[in-house]
């Protein structure tokens, strides 16, 4: 009888043992955000900051739920994402092949290195007026600034990935008689992938930044940037804070998606 008892208890213990670490991990993860909301709540309740400048977190969350519920928030998220992905897609699509080409000849890369570093160091937003002159006031001028920024950071990372490829692996493939093309496609491309992903991840974050800023200042009628500035001007502060929160969530998720892809695709990285 007693053995039966322990036998039936065991699976439950296993269950606890399996989920306890996950539970603790979740608690550690949640401590920061919960603390932020708690401090926010206390500051607001104690009236430490003018309530007209800082609505309570509950008002903000209520506004968030309402705007998600009536679809207006998701429309703006959709509009922003549409531009972010365009900018990222165009930038990355042009950057990867060009980065591979530039990186494969160190001499060529050195000759354009200064230009790439210079424009990488230039604030992307400083380019808006120029791109508005060239591409007009529509969405495409935002996309083009975004794409240009994304392109620079990815070209930089891909080219450096190629130049820092492990020489032994290249020699190994050459000793087997690999042609230049095979060497490139079978070895150097894979060698470059971890560094390429650093570029892609940085690029997608920068794309979001540029598009949101663009939506604030280049005649937009939708998008998170437009929503934030609009809420500020018309003094709907709960909506403004809610939109800022959503922008943060969006940026975090984009980054997280790339980390997930990276982990699965580049399983050998760092091993």
């Amino acid at each position: 009888m007693s053995t039966e008892l322990t036998a039936s208890a065991a699976p439950f213990d296993d269950y606890i043992a399996r989920f306890r670490p996950r539970f603790y991990r979740f608690v550690r993860f949640a401590i920061g955000p919960i603390a932020l909301f708690a401090i926010w709540y206390v500051i607001n309740a104690a009236g430490l900051v003018d309530q007209r400048l800082l609505p309570s977190p509950i008002q903000t969350i209520r506004s968030l739920v309402r705007t998600i519920g009536n679809g207006s928030m998701l429309m703006d998220v959709g509009a922003t994402m549409y531009l972010v992905l365009q900018a990222f897609g165009i930038g990355a699509g042009l950057a990867i092949p060009i980065g591979l080409l530039l990186g494969s000849s160190e001499k060529v890369y050195r000759s354009v290195e200064f230009l790439i570093d210079f424009f990488r160091s230039t604030p992307a937003t400083a380019l808006f007026p120029l791109f508005m002159l060239i591409f007009g006031l529509g969405d495409f001028s935002k996309v083009s600034v975004g794409a240009f920024t994304v392109w620079l950071v990815i070209v930089f990372n891909v080219a450096h990935g190629v130049m820092n490829a492990r020489q032994t692996r290249i020699l190994a493939a050459r000793s087997m008689g690999a042609s230049k093309w095979r060497l490139f496609k079978d070895v150097i491309f894979f060698e470059t992938l971890p560094q390429t992903f650093v570029g892609l991840r940085t690029g997608v974050s920068m794309s979001l930044v540029v598009i949101v800023v663009g939506e604030m200042f280049i005649g937009s009628t939708s998008g998170l940037g437009h929503r934030i500035i609009d809420a500020q001007i018309s003094y709907r502060l709960a909506d403004m804070y809610a939109s800022i929160l959503i922008s943060g969530v969006l940026g975090y998720l984009l980054n997280y998606i790339f980390i997930l892809i990276e982990k699965n695709l580049i399983h050998w990285s760092g091993r």
Binding site: T168, R174, S175, M176, R182, F190, W268, R271
Partner: protein
């Protein structure tokens, strides 16, 4: 892994075909940053030999095999394998750093397939050739794993299998066991001997371990300091296979200490201008 006891002492003596081509290194010169590493370096030996290269630090052992395997261009000189150039000869190369020589994005088995893929050999034939090689060497590694999931010895074994799958005429080994522990090193030396005894492959080994250099070689090439010349080319006439007992037998010890004398003499000379 009971590596050492796996040695079979009743292996037949090597069978070598009658005619053996010559491998000729002629007038090889190489400079690094203006100073001579090699100047007019000549060496002749025969196909089917096991040549170990040993010499003082920095004398250019790896530089030499990189040049004669075609991985590093030489400033002047030529290498002919039975009259053929390197490009016309089927060679393979095993690197010291297996971690950086295997392709970590491919499973171990695909690493072994790869040299055959480069030769446009169809999957069916590749699998047949790999099966044959595995039966010959009794491979006990889980080859569906990625290289980084294997132990160091297993990774180097995969490198060696990848090198052998093309049935090379010449196999270059650049300090292949220097990153392995001693037990694994002894085991791998035994494996390399079996490969050498069962095929006509010419082997060229760079080693920083004199015991290893002598144990595996038919000829030990002892080098001087830079600019590097031949200090001596020592024949190793000790019966095969050479197991751990061989390492303490008088004949072996005599050759080894002779090599050590030559080496010490060269080291004592100090760097030459």
């Amino acid at each position: 892994m009971n590596a050492v006891s796996e040695l079979k002492t009743d292996q037949p003596v090597m069978k070598r075909p009658g005619r053996r081509g010559k491998i000729e290194l002629k007038g090889i010169s190489k400079q690094f940053t203006g100073s001579d590493v090699y100047r007019d370096f000549d060496l002749d030996f025969y196909e089917g030999e096991f040549l170990s290269i040993f010499g003082p630090n920095g004398c250019g052992k790896s530089t030499l095999i990189n040049m004669i395997s075609g991985l590093l261009p030489m400033d002047a000189g030529s290498v002919l394998y039975d009259g053929k150039t390197i490009a016309q000869t089927n060679i393979s190369y095993v690197f010291q750093n297996y971690r950086e020589a295997l392709f970590p994005w491919m499973r171990a088995i695909d690493n072994i397939h790869y040299p055959l893929v480069l030769r446009n050999i169809g999957r069916k034939e590749r699998e047949e050739r790999i099966d044959k090689l595995f039966t010959e060497f009794d491979v006990r590694i889980d080859l569906n794993r990625y290289p980084y999931e294997l132990s160091g010895g297993q990774q180097q074994a995969v490198s060696i299998l990848r090198a052998l799958i093309t049935e090379p005429e010449v196999l270059f080994l650049d300090e292949p066991f220097s990153a392995l522990d001693y037990e694994m090193t002894l085991f791998m030396r035994e494996r390399i001997q079996r490969i050498f005894m069962s095929r006509n492959t010419t082997m060229i080994l760079v080693s920083h371990d004199l015991e290893e250099a002598v144990q595996l070689a038919t000829k030990v090439l002892l080098l001087t300091r830079r600019p590097t010349r031949i200090a001596e080319l020592v024949d190793v006439n000790v019966p095969w296979p050479r197991n751990t007992h061989t390492l303490t037998e008088p004949d072996f010890v005599a050759i080894r200490s002779h090599c050590l004398d030559v080496f010490s003499r060269e080291v004592a000379r100090g760097p030459r201008a």
